[in-house]
Symmetry: D2
Subunit: 411 residues, 4 copies
Amino acid sequence: MKLNNHPSGRHFLQLPGPSPVPDRILRALSLPTIDHRGPEFGVLGLQVHAGLQRIFQTRHPVIIYPASGTGAWEGALANTLSPGDAVLMFETGYFAAMWQKMALRLGLQPEFMGLAGTDAAGLPNGWRRGVQAELIEQRLRADSGHRIKAVCVVHNETSTGVTSDIAAVRRAIDAARHPALLMVDTISGLASADYRHDEWGVDVSISGSQKGLMLPPGISFNALSPKAIAASHAARLPKAYWAWDEIVESNKGGYWPSTPNTNLLYGLAEALQMLHEEGLPHVFARHQRWAEGVRAAVHAWGLELQCVDPAVHSPVLTGVVMPAGIDADRVRRTIHERFDLSLGTGLGKLKGRMFRIGHLGDSNDLTLLAALAGCEMGLKLSGVALAGSGVQAAMDFFAAHPQHTTLQVAA
Amino acid sequence: MKLNNHPSGRHFLQLPGPSPVPDRILRALSLPTIDHRGPEFGVLGLQVHAGLQRIFQTRHPVIIYPASGTGAWEGALANTLSPGDAVLMFETGYFAAMWQKMALRLGLQPEFMGLAGTDAAGLPNGWRRGVQAELIEQRLRADSGHRIKAVCVVHNETSTGVTSDIAAVRRAIDAARHPALLMVDTISGLASADYRHDEWGVDVSISGSQKGLMLPPGISFNALSPKAIAASHAARLPKAYWAWDEIVESNKGGYWPSTPNTNLLYGLAEALQMLHEEGLPHVFARHQRWAEGVRAAVHAWGLELQCVDPAVHSPVLTGVVMPAGIDADRVRRTIHERFDLSLGTGLGKLKGRMFRIGHLGDSNDLTLLAALAGCEMGLKLSGVALAGSGVQAAMDFFAAHPQHTTLQVAA
Amino acid sequence: MKLNNHPSGRHFLQLPGPSPVPDRILRALSLPTIDHRGPEFGVLGLQVHAGLQRIFQTRHPVIIYPASGTGAWEGALANTLSPGDAVLMFETGYFAAMWQKMALRLGLQPEFMGLAGTDAAGLPNGWRRGVQAELIEQRLRADSGHRIKAVCVVHNETSTGVTSDIAAVRRAIDAARHPALLMVDTISGLASADYRHDEWGVDVSISGSQKGLMLPPGISFNALSPKAIAASHAARLPKAYWAWDEIVESNKGGYWPSTPNTNLLYGLAEALQMLHEEGLPHVFARHQRWAEGVRAAVHAWGLELQCVDPAVHSPVLTGVVMPAGIDADRVRRTIHERFDLSLGTGLGKLKGRMFRIGHLGDSNDLTLLAALAGCEMGLKLSGVALAGSGVQAAMDFFAAHPQHTTLQVAA
Amino acid sequence: MKLNNHPSGRHFLQLPGPSPVPDRILRALSLPTIDHRGPEFGVLGLQVHAGLQRIFQTRHPVIIYPASGTGAWEGALANTLSPGDAVLMFETGYFAAMWQKMALRLGLQPEFMGLAGTDAAGLPNGWRRGVQAELIEQRLRADSGHRIKAVCVVHNETSTGVTSDIAAVRRAIDAARHPALLMVDTISGLASADYRHDEWGVDVSISGSQKGLMLPPGISFNALSPKAIAASHAARLPKAYWAWDEIVESNKGGYWPSTPNTNLLYGLAEALQMLHEEGLPHVFARHQRWAEGVRAAVHAWGLELQCVDPAVHSPVLTGVVMPAGIDADRVRRTIHERFDLSLGTGLGKLKGRMFRIGHLGDSNDLTLLAALAGCEMGLKLSGVALAGSGVQAAMDFFAAHPQHTTLQVAA
């Protein structure tokens, strides 16, 4: 299979997901498929569930779907809600908007709130900042009849590079004394940014395999709360493939009611092992450090970040806004053709206005510097006037801030 | 990862799926994940769609879901039907029954017809034979108001080893001049048994990756007809993840609306290439020959086949009924522990009564003889009195009937 | 790369080496190559040396050559001997004869002793039995001037399936009070048959990667004794690539003076780990049990074993003599073409008279039964009259004699 | 196996060999080992020989040894020379010196000529320039008795980064009308730098797997001329493993007299296919371009190149001399620990004075920029005062000089 049109060297996959998959995981994916009803499988099933609970920081069940993240969105809605239910969704970017469209398709009544207007650059205000918890609180206080059944927010907006404060959303719901469920999409946040399902009182966390877990796409997750499970017993949207009840029951022995995605589970087990070896705090610190280095580069170039609130810069990806008159997708195309580097496109309202640099998965200082070098050369070749060298700035940052290394070869 | 508790040698995965995955495919699975929105991906997407059309023998769109086969069942129903719709489903075994349960869960009104009663061995008559097309014709003739919106049948019943005559079902519907859609589960039939979506007038064919396509589980398919597509525009079951319309549109360029299962698509491309190299007629003949060899063994043992109608023996798997008083699962456990061989369990009404030998995927005469040797030793160790040597019978058959080999090393 | 002309299934490599390589080892081979002068490499180098010492059962240095076993033969001779030196070599088969030819080429004076004559079947007597230690003792006693500098014998004769008693050879040398070095080729014996370099007083043991160590060919070994090392200081055959002194010195840190065969060393480390997990006594017992099952098959067929002395049947391979008028290579060709099974050819004086079944490497009861089934069908197709079913006999043996399993999945 | 002490990302192997091995080749290495005497193997053997002839640009036999490059040096000498023969060897660096030591060990009389003295930097003059053909001509003219049997030179001196003019050496020998054989070590030159065995009149070319062929170490080569083959019939150094005659004979059918290194041959077949797909002229241009970019970086840093003659800069590696007082190995260690990047050490007379950057194997612009970034940060962290940014200079060069790409995804 020809996946690369360059004669030599590895492709640089610098998207905010799928992230570059470590070789250890690629190898695990290619282990022989086994009987999903045999004793060896049960051991594997229990092992990945225990590992996922550590990653979601929860003591409650985590559902694994053979499906992409979109499927896990549907699982969250279909299990807990009934036709015509109102849900409050907060617009932070393209993926928040896609989730809202799905709610419409499923026959729910989503209320899509967010910051209005565009700024001087012509970019939507709400797509440059995180969730505004106080607006949610206001809205819930106004819903005295508790018509709103769920509040849905995105933790790490993959389309913009903004990581919202989920604990603040929880506090807002509590302050409003509102019984709505809290559902959080942490598809691109989990296992790169700190995420605490239980502590933050999330009812359903949605995530996927191809971001911080460093797997290919194909499996996705719902982490549950007891309140969400209780809601699922009364909810009336039709559900079969997504239904939690049979899965939770079958998972107790390490099995699934329908055929699980065996080889991606091998990869998941390996990924969980890698994260465990490194330790979650080190994993989070690693991504924060990378993000800081990349932002130093963007500053040095004199370009604007998509995210304008320093409190919510994403550790996973950085959105880079193009100067007026520059088509971001043309820049991306040049970079791809000349330097075999894939960057994230501007999605939805940001089409052509910005590109996204992923800094997650199987990366290190040198691969990130390589990616920044590709960006810098490509920007210049595309006629973007740069204030200075971003690569230089990132080198200075990385050299001055050594990364914690947990693993040492014996002296 | 420890997937095998034996000190040496390869595990024998002799289930009717997941089938043993060829090394070529396992290797393809472990290629680096690429950007699912990049140009290389579009080439891959178009390639797998064209290949799948050849396998389904159709000129119409084929949907690929990141989901197991159960999801593709849901896709077929959710896209074409509306709440409360009646569907006629024919009971041929466990998987027909599971599909019927799903229809209920989704708010449809399945009518589950089939042969009644049990036979001398206490086994349900309907689970030992194929779909009875004449009964379907009768039932549809009686439905003068065309309340029945779809006829749902299973092509190759994985739980029993029976391959039903789908062309006959089509003729039955036509003879009754009934407008119902014909939906066929060929999850375990496709790419092992002959299957002709267009010629047989199937409206939705459902299939999966882990059987004749020799992939791990995780992707599944809906092959469509123009009539099914037309029905999907009027159908009112809520659908989002499963919705055909956006997928078909996006597939035109080789892409997907949500994140596709990239690495399983690599495996799929490799599988399609392998099937193409061998040629579908040779693929079908290969499975027929294997099945005949395995049945020769069962006859020599003096044991009963689950399928009692010689016209519909499955080329993919063979169900072997245990004599009264023998727990088939205990036999399976002995064989697994002693000989590192996994066989299919008896499902649903057949629990403990029979086991299933898969003869598909990465197999050849010698691996099948090995599997039969494992069965024969395990049956004896379990106290089953055998009439003769099944291994000997299968050796005689295989030696006397050379397999067609398409590929030759130059002299 | 097209390595198999059959459309489906795994090739059966049933040679006495290269043995079927376990997947764990094939995967290890494909790890990225690292700097052979870096710190990670030193750790690897020390690890494989320690592991090899456990396998050779020695406390002395083991040399690893990037070379096939033939190279290690040369290493043993070139390091310890001088031009014109007499060496006593015992003819047990083709490989003993090849080693003798090498000694000639290197300018040594090999004396090639062995049993004379041929038997009723026209096969050379010496190629059906092991080393006759008492003949060696006689010869050494007659060498009062100690002109003979080394005694060279083959532990497991890969061409015949005879495993000689090395301890007896040591006793013979000692009984003759002769100072000759004892050099032993255990290329195909090591890690399948018991072998004790120190306890048996071997001075140079020669081995290779592609037999009991289950690796591809490409690295080979010299295990040394202090006496051999002392001899190497005085020996005058020219030596550079093979020279022990620099290698031993460099190995102390885990490195090599010239570039080592990095990726085969990854495989070696994995193989040593696998052997360690299972435990050497279990490894030896496993091969003995397999050999017994295969001999039961040959007896049932009514065919003759190449090895006529039951005390020295090889646990690694079994030579099967063809009846008069049957070309063993034609039988092998039929089996290869029809059943994708490779057997060992008759070498040298045995050309066309016999074939060899390897029972080592990544095998288990079922793969061996499959191999025997291939032989049985092929023998019949070739017109060989068989007395009975060897497969049946081997099934009876394996079923009646469970293999020790060290590894268990938790209940 | 733990080969990397960093928590994330790929190791950068920026040595002048082993070079980074492309994934395609690593995968080929892990194909199942086959019978080296079977028909499939013969096809492989013939294929790799034909491919090697294209790479050496020769119509004559090429010997493949299961051995590292050192072994191939020995093969060249042992096949063509007799004890006490004089050979003229030219000192260009560490590897020339090592080959000369081997000649001594084998009982030859090497005359080691070269440029005398050290320069201002205290570095040996001869190790900063290529072979001086006119000195060879002078020396051969003086050898009127033709005592010198061979002239031995290194094409690409891996220890210094100097690529000598081999055609000039041929002209020198011819001008002196001297019958000496011309033997050339192109271990690190072949398949990266232009090399023409036949056109340049080389008698024995020596090469290895782990440089331009992008394989792990473990196989090495002798390309022969008719004159070398003729010489081998008269030569009297003992030879067995290295003997060309039996190998050439056996190779005619695609086989070897002793066990070949099967899995490295899989890798070799894949490497030859990759080089063929790209085309040798593009391969050479690619390395030249990389080398130019790297030298631009060294110039920008204000550091000295090891090679002081611009006519013979190596396309494969660049030696970088450290300012007085800086221990190059300490710099390398810092870079390795902080940035997971391995550079080549200073060898022999250059120990601690310089390091070497390899620019070959599975690389591209971005990986080389990453390597340069690692060097630049490490140099600064080690207190080396730099004149400017080498990374910037290389980015400017690479951006201004697009690489030829042969392979295109269809529009």
